[in-house]
Amino acid sequence: MSRIDFMQGNTACAEGALAAGCRFFGGYPITPSTEIAEHMAAKLPKVGGVFIQMEDEIAGIASVIGASWTGARAMTATSGPGFSLMMENIGFAVMTETPCVVVNIQRGGPSTGQPTMAAQGDMLQCRFGSHGDYSIIALSPASVQEMYDLTAEAFNLADRFRIPVFVMADEIIGHMRERLMIPDSVHRGERKLLGKGNLPYQADDDLVPGFPVFGKGYGVHVTGLTHDERGYPCATSPSVHECLVKRLVDKVESARDSIASCDIVNPDARVVFISYGAPSRAVEQVLHDIHNDNVGHLRLKLVWPFAESLLSRFSNAETFIVPELNMGQMAREIKRHTNRRVIPVPKLGGALHDPFDLAALVEELL
């Protein structure tokens, strides 16, 4: 039986992870994400899992990657400063095709910034923050329910694509408490194992190689160096490098339409909000209050890879309004894909966009 609870977003994130079978958490306390670690510390030992508080976030993500190679579903959670520290090892996870989930409860930056205030300033960092070319998946919950649901889904996507998957939440969603429907069970995808006779990094048709779990006799060498299909370092061959990096990008980008996840309201509207995370709640309030079919909403649950085909679902849209808790990070991406007018509505400081201000902007445009 599913049940109703009244829960904090961060706790719901941890519960979603546990429901998805996460059995390893390695991390370092940081506001405003700490409740996730605390809840995992309390719950994981009771389900046969492992919680370990590492000496810093670099070690946190490293331990998660190590745990993942034993076949465990593994995660960490952090915020801006810790996220910055993780970047090198996130690139390692991309290069070695290690499934893992990284939750970022975003706070105001740069630097120590506003530890207890919400922001969405790490949206480009999660996409591009490690060096080199690569692609990842990022989800952005807009409610406590989605903290649960999208965290659980993150594990499925991580296993399917063998990449780090980011849950890019924010302090508002992480810290607020609201109604949560906890389902009986959540859908649990399988991590495809390395097939007999296949080389460790020989990809299948989905561009993803099967996973050789440590300790099962595969005898696999895993390296962050450019490697061939055997997994052997091959760092000076231009063709091996090009082929590998292209596949790492293509396996995600070629699936972007099929994994796109969003809510669409009033697809025939002339003015369309595009939002993700907490600002979605202000937009939803605007649409609720003004009741106008000419105002639409595209709410992204899956933010990266950005599926530009979603924009064409709004065939009458003249203007896209993009409220974000940053200076226009996703608005920049949206502008890249459309000739229609894109109006970023940046918001810094930690407060959410005021629905009255957003409504006034819409009035002006209609």
Partner: protein, 262 residues
């Protein structure tokens, strides 16, 4: 045992320079592992970045060649998630004590059940001979062209102080002793740290009047002093010269260990 059964022969020849001491440490390690009777599928070798860290790539077991300095943190995740695996870390002086220093001391503090083998060549070999935290005071490197003005780290002292259950130091000259120490470390629950001083003729010896491979090995031989003897000399009030290398078992105890299946 034959080394062929432990090595990825299709990856040979290896990248190590002629006369490099790392091969000796790899041999000693594989001998020790073989003596333990461990199956290949239950062993994972983990490493960071540097010459030492290329070792796992030549061994047939599962292996994880990670980022610079972080091998112990990765290994901690592996061991905690699956305590049935035997996890051995190969590292070097720069990898372990400079960029990875924090992970090193916390690994020791947790006393996590890993065996960490440090090939200490006192130099950054792979990047061409820069000074490391174990470069002796006065020694020349490309970043200490007038002689290092910093003190060198005592890696074993650090490990013992931070809480490792087993700590030993030998050199590439002391093959039998080193093998036994590694074997003891493998069998000892908790954090086992074995430091092996190794010659780097290309980037250390060449700049420090130890040009021939044998010069540096000869140096290890003549400058090594057993811990027990050093202790006796101290008790007798005799001074131990600064350039002596204290070898032997430096800590062996049975503090509670992490990552051991209960």
């Amino acid at each position: 045992m034959t080394f062929d059964e432990w090595l990825r022969v299709d990856r040979l020849p290896h990248i190590y320079c002629a006369g490099c001491g790392n091969g000796t440490v790899i041999n000693c390690t594989l001998s020790a592992v073989d003596q333990m009777g461990w199956k290949k599928e239950e062993i994972v070798f983990v490493s960071g970045i540097g010459c030492s860290s290329r070792a796992p790539g030549y061994i047939v077991t599962d292996s994880l060649h990670t980022t610079h300095g972080r091998a112990i943190a990765f290994a901690t995740g592996i061991k905690m998630a699956n305590p049935d695996l035997k996890v051995v870390v190969f590292t070097g002086d720069g990898d372990l004590a400079a960029i990875g220093g924090n992970h090193f001391i916390h690994g020791c503090r947790r006393n996590i059940d890993l065996t960490v083998i440090c090939m200490n060549n006192m130099i950054y070999g792979m990047t061409g001979g820069q000074g490391s935290p174990t470069t002796p005071r006065g020694a020349l490197s490309t970043t200490t062209p007038y002689g290092s003005s910093e003190a060198a780290f005592d890696l074993c002292g650090l490990a013992a102080a931070a809480g490792a259950n087993y700590v030993a130091r030998y050199t590439s000259y002391h093959v039998k002793e080193l093998t036994l120490a590694i074997r003891t470390g493998l069998g000892n629950p908790g954090f086992s740290f074995i430091e092996a001083l190794v010659q780097c003729p290309t980037n250390y010896g060449r700049r420090n009047k130890l040009r021939q491979v044998s010069d540096q090995i000869e140096y290890f031989k003549s400058h090594a002093i057993l811990a027990q003897k050093a202790e006796r000399m101290r008790e007798e009030g005799k001074k131990i010269p600064d350039d002596m290398i204290i070898i032997g078992e430096l800590a062996r105890r049975n503090r509670p260990a992490l990552g051991v299946r209960k």
